[in-house]
Amino acid sequence: MRLVKSLITGVSAAVLLSSCGAGGDDQGTEYAPNMYHSVAYEPYSQITDEDAGRWVTSIDYPTSVEGGEGHAEYYNSNRFNPHRMNMREPAPNTVKRNAQGWLPYRLPNDSTGLRLASRLKNPLDSTAEVVAAGKALYEMYCDHCHGPKGEGNGKVAEGVEVDGTKKGNYNGVPNYKSDALKKITEGHIFHVITYGKNLMWPHGSQISPEDRWKIAKYVKTLQK
């Protein structure tokens, strides 16, 4: 009988412990959770539940709600920000400087801006490194629409085949080698990456100015 009892205890312990693992929506059991959770505001780990981690809370945290109790240990949200986000949007008109000290791109997003942009000179030299870097960046940011050779036949432009029919494609991707685009300058390409044109949306938020100039250099080599 003693054997049976000890077996039952062992098995139930095993069952209990096996529920510690993560999977699906379950994050699993944390070991030493106080060291896992950041007290400081952490980007990308917003915890809006004020009672999260109440059971380990040992200090009085300041109240986050007027007249309410102090929030618990794991609460990680900033109520002063929109959507209680932990990251703040930069103040309006913030100027981002980069290593080269280039000032922000000031030409406006209109036809005048585009006309002026096409007169801009690429601040980078046409070295093999710049073109190679441009190629790598092109493959990251442009390839899937514009195609590996810039013929407007990327996977996104063509769509994917589902049940024998192509669908989910993005219309309006031009061929770099078409007569209309042959004459465009690197400045024009820079402007279009920044603001988009026709059906292409702006990519200025994703690609830094320096990288845009590198891509412009590479795109010109594709047109040859």
Partner: protein, 433 residues
């Protein structure tokens, strides 16, 4: 009266003849004019006839695809109007030619049709294709006419499909089943063989002279009760349960604090399998921070909208899921994705150092994300896992002057390649501070 009567007819006659002459002249003129216009029309129609030969159509398709497709479709409004039936709609074929060659000049000339068109399409100027020959434009029109006659056909992205359940990973499952069936067959065979052995032994013992007690032992019946109370059976069962229980306890203890396999449901049923797998969009297109900073960054809504401003219907999920992005974009509201990889606050990790400097592929740590519909944590993300990689991996020193001196010093002392652990990859304070 007679003179009168004579006169009248005369007058009448003259009058009629005059009129007749006039009429004759007029009608000849008219006929002549008519014939002339007919000739001229048929002549011009002849010169402006849109070719129907397959050669012209295919030449036109080629020109259309490389030059026009960016803004025009035959059956669909894009940047510019849908071109189906444009040859009937536009003022004339000549008008089309001059518009294609230099649209802004036509608009500047105050042509009403052109100005209307310009205003209708948000004052977007059509690129001037001055290098096109008349024949090129006629070929393009031939292609458009051909497509117009064919009709729109099925529009891409219209048809929707219900999601199939996630496909079983076929080979291992069937393999396991076959193995299991095989083992069961072997066990049954064993039981049969043992039963034969028992019965033959019994027969052998029966031939010998046995006492009553011995006979009882030989012929004792084998029942469930006798098996369950036998010592061997109890030992085997206790051993099996004990061993399995022990293994489960150890596994359970090891899974504490490890989130491997965590695959939470996200607010939008985004599939990496479609985006990174089928469309082959580079990871870095959306996770823009991965080369630049600590976090790989979760894409902001505007990055989703770069494609989904146009692609409104998903290949597997229909329109509902994509509509959530558009709604968030219109309301200027972030999408609250659930974070999957939660490195504890006590450890520091930087993506840029690993991806940009070391050139580690995303999949090395994150697994085959391009095959996952729902992303799960692939790696352990424990300290042992980090250190293991730092011990095995050679430092990517190629083309990086920062490492030149270190490589020199390392090569002076040892022969092997410089691993991450050789340049402080195991130091506590590199990650814990």
């Amino acid at each position: 009266m007679s003179s009168n009567s004579r006169f009248v007819p005369l007058v009448l006659e003259t009058d009629t003849s005059l009129i007749m002459i006039k009429n004759y002249l007029h009608s000849t003129c008219k006929i002549f004019l008519f014939v002339f216009t007919l000739i001229s029309v048929s002549f011009s129609a002849y010169s402006q006839e849109i070719p129907k030969e397959p050669a012209a159509i295919s030449a036109g398709k080629q020109i259309f695809d490389s030059n026009c497709k960016a803004c025009h479709r035959v059956h669909q409004k894009l940047v510019g109007p849908a071109l189906a039936g444009v040859y009937d709609r536009a003022p004339s074929i000549d008008w089309i030619k001059s518009f294609v060659k230099n649209s802004s000049a036509v608009i500047a000339s105050g042509d009403a049709y052109a100005v209307n068109l310009f205003n209708e399409y948000n004052k977007t100027t059509m690129t001037s294709f001055s290098s096109f020959k008349d024949q090129d434009i006629m070929n393009v029109l031939a292609y458009i006419q051909d497509e117009t006659i064919k009709g729109p056909g099925e529009q891409p992205g219209q048809k929707q499909k219900v999601v199939d359940g996630p496909k079983e990973e076929g080979v291992p499952a069937t393999y396991l089943n076959v193995l299991l069936v095989g083992m069961i067959v072997i066990l049954i065979l064993l039981v049969v063989i043992l039963a034969f052995l028992v019965s033959s032994l019994k027969r052998f013992l029966d031939q010998k002279a046995l006492t009553e007690e011995e006979k009882e032992v030989v012929h004792s019946p084998i029942t469930a009760g006798t098996i369950a109370s036998s010592r061997g059976f109890i030992f085997v069962v206790a051993f099996l349960v004990g061993a399995l229980g022990f293994k489960a306890v150890i596994n359970g203890l090891y899974s504490v604090g490890i989130q491997q396999g965590y695959a939470p449901k996200q607010p939008i049923a985004f599939s990496h399998k479609i985006h990174a797998g089928q469309y082959e969009i580079d990871c870095k297109y959306c996770h823009v921070g991965v080369m630049k900073g600590k976090s790989a960054t979760i894409p902001s809504v505007n990055i989703c909208m770069n494609c989904h401003n146009q692609i409104k219907s998903g290949t597997t999920t229909g329109e509902g899921e994509i509509a959530k992005i558009v709604r968030a974009y219109n309301e200027n509201r972030p999408i609250e994705w659930v974070r999957i990889h939660n490195l504890p606050d006590l450890a520091y990790f930087n993506h840029a150092q690993h991806v940009n400097v070391a050139g580690v592929e995303c999949q090395t740590c994150h697994g085959p994300v391009q095959e996952m519909d729902v992303v799960r944590q692939h790696s352990l993300l424990t300290m042992g896992w980090c250190i293991d990689c730092h011990r095995k991996t050679d430092v990517n020193t190629k083309g990086n002057a920062y490492y030149d001196k270190l490589v020199e010093l390392h090569n002076a002392k040892s022969k092997g390649n410089m691993k991450v652990e050789n340049i402080g990859g195991l130091e506590c304070s590199k990650c814990h501070y």
